[in-house]
């Protein structure tokens, strides 16, 4: 039984940041137009990339599967609109690495024709496994940013007792308002999605955790709950504090439970989903719709008309910016995601993906050039704001010295890279970069070690096998030799009998006719040099 706290508690550490949501919330969500070319990456989620199931030149319908989930943790990819597959190749994808990855390009035919879509009057008649199958077929991933395949979470939920299904509506990172817009304009999708999940997971409690700086959104959700007489879903306001929207942070705020980095919420009977994910689950259950579009906040001082757009996955960023009045003359930096954890895009030709919640085009003022880093003075401001309770100054010290064992001893892998430490650092040290570097080095070393271990084990196994084989051979030989030796010892009764008979005959012969030559014959026969005669 999960006990919810009477009053949600603030997370440890954290930052009070200007929300900056109002810029993009002035107008309602607008449906973005279909672009001329869609570029849909095969890997928009955590886990294995999807496997292509279409060919270049093939006609696809809206929502048709174009790449299939492969393995347990993976998600399918669907055609965002009807059109022709024009290329299956490596293209630049929105990823912090800035590298290319496998994508399917589709030239829309403009008809926006559904492949298949059925409305189900009552999705609650579906049994939990059907719902999971629909979620799996719809290629839904966590839309809060991490992109964990939802069907995998569902499977874990079906295998365990789910005490609490929690909707994460904290949306704590500045500038991002897509969740808030969704809750205000489509509360039914959010709530019905939660009800579907509650039904599928047989969850005992359902809660929506929302930051207290979004009272209107909370009210919209509550109004919908009232309109359907749903009383078993609680909307709980949590203190607005970055990074409240981290899954484990939100759970802590609501329940006081600290989920260690080695465990998942489901180990404690909790399943947590973003509100956008909930809406996608609803559409999958109700209409059998795949995840082919999402709401994205296009904002920042670099955008002329900041707003929320309902966008087809695979639409180029430039297309969206154009629909928001283009760049303003203040444009300096282009980010995917928020200003704390988002990453910069090298070009606006990149497509948006399932986990893209925000396109942030900032001015110099909003995101100035990083100031030159100076020495760490160990002031400890970083430790005060770290939501994981780490000592960032010590992690930095050891990462800087490339003493990675020490960074692990200081729990480097508990770092969620929220950026609070770097934000408060008076020496302007890019701390998160150091931690990413250390993590990458450690992972690489582990990988190398693992491969070396496997190679060594195989080598040792081979050596052992060779020794064993040699031994066995020697043993076999020894056995044969022994057998042969025993035979030579004259234990062979047949030979003995023949020999005896021959001797008896000779004796008879010599007895009959004494011959001086005959004496030589038997003696030579028994002499040790007899082998020479053979």
């Amino acid at each position: 039984m999960i006990t919810l706290l009477d009053n949600p508690i603030p997370i440890p550490g954290g930052l009070k940041l200007n929300a900056n949501k109002q810029q993009s919330l002035r107008s309602p969500i607008k449906k973005a137009r279909i672009p001329e070319l869609l570029t849909v990456p095969l890997s928009q989620h955590i886990g294995n990339p999807a496997e292509v199931v279409v060919k270049v030149g093939e006609q696809v319908g809206k929502g048709q599967i174009i790449a299939e989930a492969s393995g347990f943790i993976s998600a399918s990819v669907h055609a965002p609109t009807s059109g022709t597959v024009t290329a299956i190749d490596n293209f630049f994808v929105p990823h912090p690495s800035g590298l290319k990855n496998r994508c399917i390009q589709i030239k829309p035919d403009g008809e926006d024709r559904w492949y298949e879509r059925h409305e189900l009057a009552n999705p609650f008649i579906l049994d939990p496994y059907d719902i999971r199958q629909r979620v799996l077929d719809a290629g839904i991933v966590g839309m809060g940013g991490a992109g964990f395949p939802v069907a995998s979470k569902c499977s874990a939920g079906l295998a365990n007792t789910v005490e609490l299904v929690l909707l994460n509506a904290a949306e704590c990172e500045p500038f991002i308002s897509c969740d808030e817009a969704l809750m205000k304009e489509r509360p039914e999708e959010v709530i019905e999605g939660l009800r579907v999940m509650r039904h599928a997971l047989q969850a005992k409690q359902s809660v929506i955790g929302i930051e207290d700086n979004m009272p209107e959104a909370a009210e919209c959700l509550q109004n919908y709950l009232d309109s359907i007489d749903e009383t078993d879903i609680q909307i709980i306001k949590v203190p607005s504090l970055y990074p409240e929207g981290g899954e484990k942070q939100l759970i802590y705020s609501l329940t006081g439970l600290e989920i260690p980095n080695t465990e998942l919420p489901i180990d404690h009977g909790i399943i947590c989903h973003n509100v956008g994910t909930s809406a996608a689950v609803y559409r999958a259950a109700k209409f059998n719709e795949a995840l082919i579009s999402r709401i994205i906040t296009i904002t920042g001082a670099g955008i002329t008309e900041p707003q929320n757009l309902d966008v087809l996955i695979g639409t180029p960023v430039a297309d969206l910016v154009e629909q928001c009045g283009g760049y303003s003359d203040k444009i300096d930096r282009l980010l995917m995601g928020g200003p704390m954890m988002g990453f910069t895009l090298q070009t606006d030709a990149l497509p948006v993906i399932k986990t893209t919640n925000c396109i942030l085009a900032t001015s110099q003022q909003e995101t100035p050039q990083p100031e030159p880093a100076t020495a760490c003075i160990r002031c400890g401001k970083c430790a005060e704001v770290c939501p994981a309770g780490l000592l960032p100054q010590q992690l930095y010290w050891h990462a800087h010295a490339r003493d990675f064992e020490k960074t692990e001893a200081f729990n480097l892998f508990d770092c969620i890279e929220c950026g609070c430490c770097a934000y408060v650092c008076p020496s302007h040290i890019p701390l998160v970069q150091y931690y990413r570097f250390a993590k990458a080095e450690i992972r690489e070393a582990r990988d190398v070690k693992q491969r070396a271990d496997i190679a060594r084990e195989r080598h040792e196994a081979r050596d052992a096998r060779l020794v064993r084989e040699k031994q066995e051979l020697a043993e076999r030989r020894a056995k044969h030799k022994k057998a042969a030796a025993t035979r030579k010892d004259g234990s062979d009764p047949k030979k003995d009998a023949i020999k005896a008979a021959v001797e008896r005959a000779k004796a008879r012969k010599s007895a009959l006719k004494p011959n001086p030559e005959s004496n030589r014959e038997p003696s030579s026969e028994s002499s040790p040099n007899s082998g020479n005669q053979v």
């Binding site: 910069t344 020495a375 160990r378 400890g380 309770g389 001893a409 729990n411």
Partner: protein, 353 residues
């Protein structure tokens, strides 16, 4: 359109080293003004000597090390070292005293260890200890504060003493210098005078020594402002002052004739300067919250021990340096509990992702 790439987080940073150091300097102003009021021009001359030496020495070493000179000087840390050392020195000490002390602080204690952030010991206190060990005579000649002995010396008289070793007409070195309250207490306890006899003397005010008590009060106010500005944390000063107070209490309660009062300890010598401005130097102090409590308490206890039973009248510098030495070990054993971990554990088993 093409864009430059940067690493997250992207928001402008909230704090700046130079702002923090500027705040420390501002917080020192009440104390400096009080020092000037009670001890006259010698204070200003000391500060000018230490600060200019600090900046020049830092610039010279930075040039030798081929580091950015102007931007590094601008961080204000060399200036702080100069200010702290200048405030700790006797006001009429010959000019080479502040110069040598500052040179040692900046060149040896700070830059030879790698500059800002890498010095294990508080540079100003290293400079002070070098001086007090090498030049004990010059380092114990304090002039009398205003209202206790003779009139304060004029600017030209001060310059004469400091730079030319020329005493004003009609004065001997003994007529212008006087034991500090801490010195006085130590000497008189040595000849078995009682606490009440000692404090009845003209040197003493309502809290501690005349002049010194006000100077300490000013540092206390500056320190509180630093706490308010979040430049320093409360742990070190509170633990240090608390430990000094608690340490002195039972002795004073048991034998109020032969031990100084807790209040006297709090408002004498470099107590407040040490608590808020010296022990809180983040580079050489502990960095964990719990560690800072131990660190501060250790300094408080050591100050009491040195003042009461040690060879020197004040013990802030030695206490700080001794605890600087212990800081890395204390930090190691006082790591905070990590979110989701059962308890703080130094030898964490294989962490996983």
């Amino acid at each position: 359109m093409e864009f430059s790439r940067y690493s997250s987080p992207h928001l402008p940073t909230a704090n700046h080293l130079s702002t923090m150091m500027r705040d420390v300097m501002l917080a020192l102003i009440p104390g400096i003004v009080a020092m000037f009021w009670y001890f006259g021009w010698g204070v200003i001359i000391n500060l000018l000597l230490t600060c200019s030496t600090a900046l020049l020495a830092e610039a010279a070493i930075l040039m030798l090390r081929k580091r950015a000179v102007v931007s590094t000087l601008y961080d204000g840390t060399a200036l702080i070292t100069g200010l702290l050392l200048g405030l700790a020195l006797p006001v009429m000490a010959p000019w080479w005293i502040p110069v040598i002390g500052t040179l040692f602080a900046i060149v040896v204690a700070k830059q030879l260890y790698g500059g800002l952030g890498y010095n294990p010991f508080n540079p100003a206190m290293v400079g002070f200890v070098v001086l007090i060990i090498s030049f004990p005579l010059q380092m114990t000649q304090w002039t009398a504060p205003r209202g206790v002995g003779i009139e304060l010396l004029s600017l030209s008289e001060s310059l004469g003493i400091i730079f030319a070793n020329v005493l004003p007409a009609g004065h001997t070195i003994d007529s212008i210098t006087m034991a500090t309250p801490l010195d006085n207490v130590k000497t008189r306890f040595g000849v078995f005078d009682t606490w009440s006899e000692i404090t009845a003397g003209s040197l003493f005010g309502s809290l501690a020594g005349k002049g010194w008590e006000m100077i300490n009060v000013c540092y206390l106010f500056g320190g509180i402002w630093l706490l308010y500005r979040k430049v320093i944390r409360w742990q070190i000063p509170v633990a240090m002052l608390g430990a000094l107070f608690i340490m002195s209490n039972p002795f004073f309660a048991a034998d109020s004739d032969s031990f100084a009062s807790p209040i006297f300890h709090l408002f004498s010598g470099a107590t407040m300067l040490g608590a808020f401005f010296i022990a809180t130097d983040p580079v050489s102090a502990c960095t964990t919250k719990k560690g800072q409590l131990y660190f501060g308490a250790g300094i408080g206890i050591l100050i009491y021990i040195i003042r009461t039973w040690g060879g020197y009248p004040d013990g802030v510098a030695f206490a700080v340096l001794l605890m600087n030495m212990a800081a890395p070990t204390i930090d190691y054993y006082t790591q905070p509990r990590v979110f989701g971990h059962a308890r703080a554990d130094n030898d964490e088993e294989e962490p996983s992702e």
